[in-house]
């Protein structure tokens, strides 16, 4: 059991969906950074509210069987979001803060890998795209290359078997394999 917990301690240990009850403040940004992040986010939300409100007010429709029509609800929501964005701008509260340097590059490599993998999903097929995704992600998580390779091959084979054969999901085979 000792090895069990030693290994676990090395894992990610994410505090899933529990920000509001976090027992430590170690992941919080400094008050100045929090304020800056909060105000930036509030301005983005305000811009979204204005764009959404304008978009909502010009929705085209021929008729509506109710007196409100399809425009009123989006416009009301845009107003509410605009007011909340102003409130948020005035009291931005605590933010977690963004990673920087090498960690930021590692974190952003996850969505990049996902985009590459999904772009290859139909042309190259499920197995190839999943192999690339799982290999890249494992290396991002600092797995030893040999283990990452073995893990990626295992993932591609396992999930292909589970979805194609057990669950009968029609997955793309890819041009390489005659799909």
């Amino acid at each position: 059991m000792e090895a069990v917990r030693a290994q676990a301690a090395g894992n990610g240990l994410r505090f899933s969906e529990m920000r509001e009850n976090s027992m430590s403040d170690e992941s919080h940004a400094s008050p100045g950074a929090s304020r800056m992040i909060g105000r930036g986010a509030a301005l983005c939300l305000l811009a979204l509210a204005i764009t959404y409100g304008i978009g909502g007010s010009v929705i085209e429709y021929a008729f509506s069987s109710d007196p409100l029509g399809p425009r009123a609800f989006p416009v009301a929501l845009a107003t509410v979001l605009g007011l909340l964005a102003v409130w948020y701008f005035l009291s931005p509260g605590q933010a977690e803060g963004f990673p920087s340097g090498a960690l930021l590059v590692r974190v952003l490599s996850v969505p990049v890998l996902l985009v590459v993998s999904v772009a290859l999903f139909e042309p190259a097929g499920f197995a190839v795209s999943i192999f690339i995704l799982t290999l890249g992600t494992a290396l991002t998580f600092a797995a030893p290359p040999s283990k990452a390779l073995a893990g990626a091959a295992g993932h591609a084979a396992l999930w292909w078997f589970v979805f194609s054969y057990l669950l009968e999901v029609h997955l793309p085979v890819g041009a390489l394999f005659g799909g």
Binding site: G12, R14, G56, L68, P70, F73, G93, H155, L167
Partner: protein, 504 residues
Amino acid sequence: MNLEYLWQGFSVTLTAQNLLIGFVGCFIGTLVGALPAIGPINGIALLLPIAYTMGLPAESTMILLAAVYCGAEYGGRISSILLNVPGDAGAVMTAMDGYPLARQGRAGEALALSGLASFVGGMLGAIGLALFAPLLAGLAIGFGPAEYFVLMIFAFATLGSMVGSQPVKTLIGCTLGLMLATVGLDATSGAYRFTFNEPELGDGIEFVVLVIGLFSVSEAMLILEHEGRGVTVIRELGRMTARWTDIVKSTGASLRGSLIGFVVGVLPGTGASVSSAVSYTTEKRISDTEGTFGKGDVRGLAAPEAANNATACGAFVPMLTLGVPGSGTTAVMLGALMLYNIQPGPMLMVERPEIVGGLVASLFVGNFILLALNLPLVQIFARVLTVPNWLLVPGILVLSIVGVYSTHASVFSIFLMLGIGMVGWLMRKAGFDMAPIILGFVLGRVMEVNLRNALAISGGDPSILFGSTICVVLWILAAAVAVLPFYLSRRSRRRQQIAASTAS
């Protein structure tokens, strides 16, 4: 009281297929709960498209998802006690006394005792659900569109004031969810809203795409970011059974925790994180006469564990009877029902008793399965903590992609999920919780339809929204729930100031 639905439910649950589904759900749920990387919402979000693709009937899918939910509440305690890292939000308070007990060499006892407390909470919560759901559904049958609209306002007010320390972020999350729900074809007028001429958005943003994007993709990025944070490791498990004296000592705490957990769970929008915190602080106030809480007191372990399991059951009450989720996880389950074109609400009990009854009955059966799994097999579940993240996270990402693809067979949907995941990550970094977005999204269409129906009935007169006693009561409750926390925090600040000035 008519409990016929429950007997019908047992006949649904006690079939070989559904018992197997329940067992698999309990097992997966406990694993999901034990892993700090994935919470119950992630587990359910990843399993939902698989269950749908397998062609399971709605009642079996709900049994599976409920089993995962309850299993995760059991499993969350394992990493709380062994690592001081809660496996899910409801297990935060479990670590307060569970981890000190483990450090005293009593980890095995703490796991066994918390397993029993979870069982007590789960069973009492299931009994409360079985008794309370028909009463509330009977009351809600009288609800018209205006009452429903105001009920949803009440749900958002509760959420804004009870979830998190920053209500503005919760309310923004709800509003964004409501906005996302407006994308697509407006059934009443035939107008396309916010589709940007993209045919795949004609039916709106698919629920599976949103929930997997928000929870799984952003979670994978956060796991990477938080990887390697040090924790103090517990070396010894000790004896694996609870002492009789500890069981007797913690019985009152378990019962009180169950009651608090169920009541908090019934409130729309609150969840296990709130109930476990309330039950722990209540128990501390009642029982901590010797200052042992936080140092390994079994009552401090039992109370939040019983509470978070009772909350899981309580959260089903508003979901099944009113169509308003009691927690983030039940919001996802509500979305699952909608995937089957089933409209939740008071008529669900009348029209589809096999779903409501099956789910409630499965909670009773599931608790016995979970107790059986969690007492003797806890060492096996503890071993899942050895799965390294470089193996686990790629699996989550594959399930996310294939989950969306298997439901919609469209690469556009996967790209949309990735975009939503990126926005989710940015929002989480800014301190936003994702559950309110899901809640807003799930309730969005129903809320707009009810508002428009109410105004259609009244010929455009908005006074219909204040026209019945139920509406007025709900408005008053919503206002009270929205204002009360501000009043209480102001009063507490004033008291602290007075105390500080007196002391100085």
